[in-house]
Symmetry: C2
DNA sequence: GGCTAAACGGACCCCGGTCCGGTTTCTATT
DNA sequence: AATAGAAACCGGACCGGGGTCCGTTTAGCC
């Protein structure tokens, strides 16, 4: 059935992606680069699956095989940008990073997340479900806020309280407030700080 | 230039919709009915602009002229369902309607909004921007919560606090919690009550 | 070099959205 | 009441883009 000697590929070791073929990996890179360039030069709307494919010199089918859907592609690009931010939260300088008191960290997190969301608004919107939530970014935020709340001695259903702090930062909500209600970013931020204060003070 | 006697149509009286022609109104009705039937029998996904048009016995262009877009059509249908709910909030029996203490009303509002959102989840999602927000439904909710908060003596940026209470009820958030995180509706509700408590207690 | 599993590509389908020439409704006028 | 004219409406051909499919090619392994 099989030889007594196994090459390294024989044990999947439970790695979810069972290794990607070289050409596949090359194309994935090329596609990400092509998409990024398109976004930078012509905006998110110019990112057509056919455009991206053509620019990367591959067929349309390949884009879908690598990224599942347009949203998936956007999600992948977004993830790249967000990783940087996550690093700043995990190991950057205080007060966003570790080293400052929990409350300072929480407030810094709020401001930072607010700015980042607005900065990537187009991308997040285009990434749909794979955008703010589901993707790594969201789980990470929940985890982090939850941790800070615990650190602050807040008791209760922490995951839900974290959601309460995070959901007002959803693109949809922010978009509405900024573009339709005409609220300033500063005011929104102040509101969020107040919300955090009330939640923390609640014990 | 014009006769000294004016028929009633001569003064627009600032009515936004300058009156709809009879056939147009008839088609609008027919289209709404057709769409509703399609949703009830085959689900939201079966609501194709062409399907709806065919079932209503009109051309595709007509659907777009009446409802602007698919999202617009969904929004129109949704609005219909939501009107009922709004009536219950404004003038229904307590504690949801008037007559109960503000806190009771607020909590009843939370539960009711939660259930309603989940009930119409498909529709709200399909209505996109015209769904939970922008549409009448959203502004109404903000206004109502704001009013109840004022009644409860809460001070601060009331519109933002209202948003803080409303944004955890967005379909996107709820969907994620229920379908991905596997949270029960009751737990989400309890969490919301706790959130309301903290916000009100904050003064 | 030969074999298999995976990747490739582009033709194809479906649906949302646009457009414009023909038709219907409404009002004013006789 | 009949009619003329214009504004509004109608329909369906048309377009672009997301997503699927399958016959063909290629990378990786023996």
């Amino acid at each position: 059935m099989s030889s007594p000697v196994h090459s390294r590929r024989d044990l999947p070791l439970l790695d979810a992606p069972p290794v990607e073929r070289a050409d596949a990996a090359r194309n994935r890179q090329a596609l990400l680069v092509a998409a990024r360039e398109l976004i930078d030069s012509c905006g998110v709307d110019a990112v057509t699956m056919e455009n991206v494919a053509a620019r990367a010199g591959v067929g349309k089918g390949t884009v879908f095989r690598r990224f599942e859907s347009r949203e998936g592609l956007m999600g992948a690009i977004l993830n790249f940008s967000e990783t940087e931010w996550q690093a700043a939260v995990i190991s950057g300088p205080p007060p966003l990073g570790p080293g400052a008191p929990p409350l300072d960290r929480l407030l810094a997190f709020g401001r930072s997340r607010l700015d980042t969301t607005l900065l990537h608004a187009d991308l997040i919107r285009a990434a749909g479900t794979a955008g703010s939530r589901a993707a790594a970014a969201y789980s990470f935020s929940v985890m982090h806020v939850r941790y800070l709340l615990a650190e602050l001695g807040v008791t209760g259903d922490l995951p839900l309280l974290a959601t309460a702090l995070l959901s007002p930062m959803e693109v949809l909500v922010l978009d509405h407030q900024v573009n339709l209600d005409g609220l300033s970013v500063d005011r929104i931020h102040d509101g969020w700080v107040d919300l955090a204060r009330r939640i923390v003070a609640g014990g």
